[in-house]
Amino acid sequence: MPRRISNSQKTMTTVAAWTIGVLIFFPILWIFILSFKAEGDAIGTPLHVISSAWTFDAYGEVQGRSDYFKHFWNSVVLSLGSTLIGLAIAIPAAWSMAFVPGKRTKDLLMWMLSTKMMPAAGVLVPIYLIFRDLGLLDTRIGLVAILTLVNLPIIVWMLYTYFKEIPGEILEAARMDGASLRSEILYVLTPMAIPGIASTMLLNIILAWNEAFWTLRLTAASAAPLTAFIASYSSPEGLFYAKLSAASVMAIAPILIMGWFSQKQLVRGLTFGAVK
């Protein structure tokens, strides 16, 4: 029997929830509006901002100021690259831990998690020096390696919790039907594992896209992703609200959309399966 809720109560909740929701979202909405304004209008009062003319100029100027799409592409390469390499390493590991758990599996998982707890500042010095000596500073390959390592524990953990949910009996059933190991993996396990792999991938792309310690410290001009490119607005020349807004909108829009799709997986991934 569903709880009976009076309509007035529901209306009140609706008003309260929408008000808070819009307030929390407001900074994003505001830069979206500012990104379609001229620089001179963007610094005006809120009323002036709303009533002034709309323009796409800022988006063009962002590209003109420095090669925006180079940095955008760097972000794509870094987040996709580190995620795919991470998956390639993590899938076999998570797979065997989920289906052939040994005595040490739990310890192993906990140990992997512990590597995620290491603060980046704690290992900044050696990583920086290694990168300098190997000529990896400001290269995409170096950053892909770091981002892979940083997020590998989360990938293994997420995959493990998904694989764990695939029932073992289904394999026995397939085997009774005379399926070979190869077709077992290909036709039974893989289709069941793909949704989990896809969500892991999505969340990991988001995390890598927004990573803002290593990307800021280890890049300069050529390998800098959007996190570092946006940081260059901290010492701006002249009016820059519209340009900063346009650059920000383009930097967060793809990830915001992916994030909205992955909200359920987010909980599982970021709590290491502790909350589902």
Partner: protein
């Protein structure tokens, strides 16, 4: 099949860690390349007695506690609200969740310029409309401003996790309590809160891990200043090792940061480890 993952993580953990510890006991300043050799605990001594160390530790704690207070209490209240039936639940969830996906540098610069700027910021415009003056948030209360920025990013996380936990609560239990005449408050204290304890613990611990290493927000806004007013431990490590070129001292700071994070990690691992039992 586990071995590749174990191998790379092992290298990732041991090599930099060993090097950090090694450097922390060495004389190693890029400005004085001829001064080398064993330094004993000198680096630690200089790091801890540096005039920036105490403010950095206190700011790190204030930052963590400030953000935790806002996000945990706010998250519980928001989760309770969003768990009620209302029109447009799905959309409001998306709106509330959005800040979590904004990259730290964007969040920091947007707050600093479009909202907190004493002349052109939105808050200044609102203050002026009421006859007031723009407040220089980052100049006058830099740490508080950074706490607001970081809390804005993490409130969605706390809300989402707590909402998920709340939704797994058995509705019938609440209804039974309601029929027995339990007040809203006692329902919250005796049923809802105990049910959410584990989720709250996880939210607090995970956020602590991340907020202990807040860096980008400080770099793009205040650079730790004015003076040491918004300097935290990771930022001091960066200043010592990269800006001051004192690798040894930076490494000593790194070791201290690792120890601090490990104290939190210990409790987090226990909370998560319990979950593996069943």
């Amino acid at each position: 099949m586990v071995s590749p993952a174990v191998a790379v993580l092992l290298i990732w953990m041991i090599v930099p860690l060993a090097m950090t510890i090694w450097f922390s006991f060495q004389q190693y300043n890029l400005l004085y390349p001829d001064r080398t050799g064993f330094a004993g605990i000198e680096n630690y001594y200089y790091f801890i007695t540096d005039f920036r160390f105490q403010p950095a530790i206190w700011n790190t704690l204030r930052l963590v506690l400030g953000v935790l207070a806002i996000t945990t209490i706010g998250g519980i209240l928001l989760a309770l609200l969003l768990d009620q039936p209302f029109w447009g639940q799905g959309i409001v969830r998306l709106l509330v969740l959005a800040p979590f996906f904004v990259m730290p540098t964007v969040s920091a610069l947007v707050w600093q310029n479009m909202f907190m700027d004493p002349v052109n910021g939105l808050f200044a415009h609102i203050a002026k409309a009421f006859g007031g003056d723009g407040y220089d948030f980052l100049g006058q209360s830099p740490l508080m401003s950074i706490i607001i920025m970081v809390a804005w990013q993490w409130l969605p996380f706390a809300t989402l996790i707590l909402l998920t936990a709340l939704q797994s609560l058995d509705r019938e239990q609440i209804e039974a309590a309601e029929m027995d005449g339990a007040s809203v408050w006692s329902r919250f204290i005796y049923i809802i809160l105990p049910h959410m304890t584990r989720a709250i613990t996880v939210v607090i611990l995970i956020q602590t891990i991340f907020i202990l290493s807040v860096y980008a927000e400080i770099l793009v806004t205040t650079n730790g200043g004015p003076g040491t007013a918004s300097l935290n431990l990771p930022f001091l490590v960066y200043l010592a090792s990269i800006v001051d070129n004192d690798v040894g001292m930076g490494a000593a700071g790194g070791v201290i940061a690792i120890i601090l994070a490990n104290i939190v990690a210990f409790f987090l691992m226990r909370a998560i480890g319990k979950n593996l039992e069943h």
